[in-house]
């Protein structure tokens, strides 16, 4: 039982850390919360048995790191659009092509602007 919770805490802590460095950093909150719960249970059980393993403290450390990264990203990173130069170019060429194409169509049924 003690071992199970220790392993669960470690796995969820690692998952939280991985998620926190990805763009979906906000999702790291879920495994981080689980890691804390599992870690606390493991800690409590180990203390009752008389020996607290270093690995439990290590999983706490990982969780805290993950939460720190997530919080930092949520507060300081602004969401902005990346490089759109190629898209802007594409838009322009596409429009030019479209006008040529539209010229070929028979559009006489459309009234011109009044």
């Amino acid at each position: 039982m003690k071992q199970l919770f220790t392993i669960l805490a470690l796995i969820t802590a690692i998952l939280a850390l991985i998620l926190s460095v990805l763009p979906v950093s906000n999702l790291a909150i879920f495994p981080a919360a689980l890691a804390l719960i599992f870690g606390l249970i493991a800690f409590y059980l180990s203390k009752k048995a008389g020996e607290v393993k270093k690995i439990i403290q290590f999983s706490f450390l990982l969780t805290i790191m993950a939460l720190a990264v997530t919080t930092y990203k949520a507060i300081f990173n602004t969401t902005e659009v990346g490089n759109t130069e190629t898209l802007v170019e594409k838009e322009e060429t596409s429009k030019e092509e479209a006008i040529e194409e539209l010229e070929e169509l028979n559009l006489e049924e459309i009234e011109l602007d009044e």
Binding site: P23, V24, T79, T84, E91, I110, E111
Partner: protein, 254 residues
């Protein structure tokens, strides 16, 4: 009697042909697309809907443009640069030319439809790198492309619709005609980035799905004014749901 007949005829034509009194050239709507899992939001991309006038030697058309661009934090993982365009009749929003140019995480595809409403056909050209494929597809009258449909929804008169009323239409996508249906679900007030708005709540689905029975997976909220701009959208995806929230709206008609 003559006057009544003329009035009736005018009324009939006015209701038959949905006149464009909601979409104007120069309109720009910016949205944030995000992924929502149990209330934790993750911004993914910026979606922009733009309109402008395009002049050819014969006519002036309305150019509808829909762009999707991922935020910079995503660019190294999964970069999206999508461009959907439609050239439509400014009065009825009937499409003449549709172009789709997508680039999603290294996968790119080009599609071009040229509508011929007289012969009820669409000439399609698909390009992937050097590979070009041409095909002509038959359509029903009143089939729109996806971008024009997005704007066409704004021409419906929701005010006169009853709660639960449905409207069907066909959309051509990936060279196939898809039957779509919207259901009007009443009014709702939402607080958005452009202020608190009373909105028409609309469920979108294919005509097979039964929206009223509780299948409200895809929903749209359009402002309950003359512009009927979309302020919020919600889409069901396997885990959690996708959201489209308005960020700014400029150059609206009314």
């Amino acid at each position: 009697m003559k006057h009544i007949l003329i009035a009736l005829l005018f009324f009939a034509t006015a209701t038959l042909k949905a006149q464009n009194n909601a979409v104007a050239a120069g309109e720009k709507l910016v949205y944030t697309a995000s992924y929502n899992m149990s209330g934790v939001l993750n911004d993914i991309a910026q979606v922009t809907l733009e309109t402008s006038n395009v002049k050819t030697s014969k006519a002036t058309l309305l150019h509808l443009k829909c762009k999707a661009v991922t935020y910079s934090k995503w660019d190294n993982f999964f970069k999206i640069r999508d461009l959907y365009e439609s050239y439509v009749n400014p009065k009825t929003l009937t499409p003449y030319l549709y172009k789709r140019d997508i680039n999603e995480g290294g996968y790119s595809k080009n599609m071009k439809y040229t509508f011929s409403h007289k012969t009820k056909t669409v000439k399609t050209v698909q390009t992937k790198g050097d590979w070009v494929e041409e095909k002509t597809v038959n359509i029903n009258s009143g089939t729109y492309d996806i971008v024009a449909t997005l704007y066409k929804i704004r021409l419906f008169d929701f005010e006169s619709m009853q709660v639960g009323a449905k409207k069907s239409f066909t959309v051509i996508f990936d060279r196939k005609e898809i039957n779509a249906q919207i259901t009007y679900l009443g009014k709702e007030t939402l607080s958005t980035a452009i202020g608190s708005k009373t909105c028409y709540k609309i469920a979108v689905g294919s005509s097979e799905s039964n929206v009223i029975k509780g299948n409200k997976d895809n929903m749209l909220w359009l402002t309950a004014d003359a512009n009927k701009i979309m302020v919020y959208g919600k889409f069901k995806i396997p885990v959690g749901n996708g959201e489209l929230k308005i960020k700014s709206a400029t150059g609206v008609k009314n």
